[in-house]
């Protein structure tokens, strides 16, 4: 066999090997996508995680409704969030805990969660459940636990069963009363009023933040990128 023929044969063999490499690469990408989609899918009523972590995070801090912190704190940091929003989940896990430790636990500011339901009807159900939990002093436990167990938005995971599982894990003392409250017109109307307030402030996405304090009154912050930005906003509002 001539050298040219040998090279052609070798090249053909390698092209076949290249095709196999391409196939393998596509399989690797598919595996990465499956892992990405399945990680923390959440939304599973039979498995509510991180209740102990949330208890540790919020332990010893007073709660009233969906306001966390000393009611006498001069600065109020307001978060407008949708419980189904994956970005809000990211903030709940990576940004808000630092602000709670540095500014809320110290009494420098209180944190007020308000519902801005932008995804679908299930967001309203979740928001009403959070407000109803707040009426029994477990509003922030509910919000934080919901985010940590959040499913993929608008997939129908926000069922009565899921909401009840979150409420129970959050330590809502009277689930029957909570059920009645979350279905009441008063609570549903409040969800609508909070969403309208967010729109009036010019917000179009979640989470959006505002801060209210003696220095500058009410200021909108949009979506600050880090806990440090929120801490600076609290300090400037004093």
């Amino acid at each position: 066999m001539s050298a040219e023929a040998e090279q052609a044969e070798r090249r053909e063999r390698l092209i076949k090997l290249g095709s196999a490499t391409a196939f393998l690469a596509i399989v690797v990408v598919a595996v990465l996508i499956v892992i990405g989609q399945s990680q923390g899918d959440g939304g599973d009523a039979s498995s509510i995680d991180d209740a102990a972590e949330v208890r540790r995070e919020l332990g010893g801090i007073p709660q009233r409704g969906l306001v966390l912190g000393d009611p006498g704190a001069k600065v109020t940091l307001i978060e407008f969030g949708d419980l189904q929003c994956p970005v809000c989940k990211g903030y709940a896990e990576e940004v808000i805990p630092q602000v709670i430790q540095s500014k809320v636990r110290s009494g420098e500011a209180k944190l007020d969660f308000r519902n801005f339901t932008i995804i679908d009807e299930e967001s309203i159900d979740a928001a009403a459940a959070a407000i109803a939990a707040g009426q029994q002093g477990r509003g922030w436990d509910f919000v934080e636990l919901f985010y940590r167990n959040q499913g993929i938005e608008a997939t129908g995971y926000v069922t009565d069963e899921f909401l009840t599982a979150v409420a129970e894990a959050a330590g809502v003392p009277d689930v029957e009363q909570w059920n009645a409250a979350r279905a009441s017109n008063r609570v549903i109307d409040r969800v609508g009023a909070e969403t309208a307030e967010a729109q009036r402030l010019g917000f179009s996405g979640t989470p959006s933040f505002a801060v209210e304090g003696p220095a500058n009154g009410l200021e909108t912050l949009g979506t600050p990128g880090s806990a440090g930005d929120l801490e600076a906003a609290v300090e400037n509002a004093r």
Binding site: Q7, A22, G36, Q39, G90, E93, G225
Partner: protein, 159 residues
């Protein structure tokens, strides 16, 4: 004389695999782009390290994307995975012969495919665009084009 020139021209066309750029040029481009990719991914990883986000040149999509749960894969920052991937692609660009060609092609295809997925997530799941992530996706697309050309045109040759 004219016949000699015609013959030389014909031989030149036949001896170079079609009209692809020289392999050395492709490797130089891949080296440059992979190094640039390491820089972009490193910047994103450092910016996100303490819960922050890279600075968006316009709009606020970077904060949103950085805070998303999709910015990590099995607890590892996607930016850190990017640094590793660009590092491997840089290595493949520096390796001569069929090993470098095959490795570069396979790695670039994985990187390109995963970049397409991440861009889809930004557009349709996270609803925000991070310009640094788009820059990385563009770099990965260039690397795929360069490595695919290198593989298809030069594998099995001694170029």
């Amino acid at each position: 004389m004219a016949a000699d020139l015609a013959g030389a021209k014909t031989e030149s066309i036949v001896s170079r695999p079609m009209s692809a750029p020289a392999e050395g040029t492709l490797r130089t481009i891949a080296t440059f782009v992979a190094t640039f990719g390491i820089g972009v991914a490193t910047y994103i990883a450092i910016a996100e390290a303490d819960g922050g986000a890279p600075v968006c040149l316009a709009g606020g999509g970077c904060e949103t994307v950085a805070a998303s749960s999709h910015s990590e894969l099995l607890g590892i920052s996607v930016a850190a995975i990017g640094i590793f991937g660009y590092g491997l692609l840089l290595g493949a660009a520096l390796v001569r012969g069929d090993l470098g060609r095959m490795a570069g092609f396979g790695l670039a295809l994985v990187g390109f495919g995963y970049s397409v997925y991440l861009t889809w997530l930004e557009l349709f799941v996270i609803d925000a665009i991070c310009q640094w992530c788009v820059a990385s996706a563009v770099l990965m697309t260039v690397l795929f084009a360069v490595n695919a050309t290198r593989m298809v045109r030069y594998v099995g040759t001694s170029a």
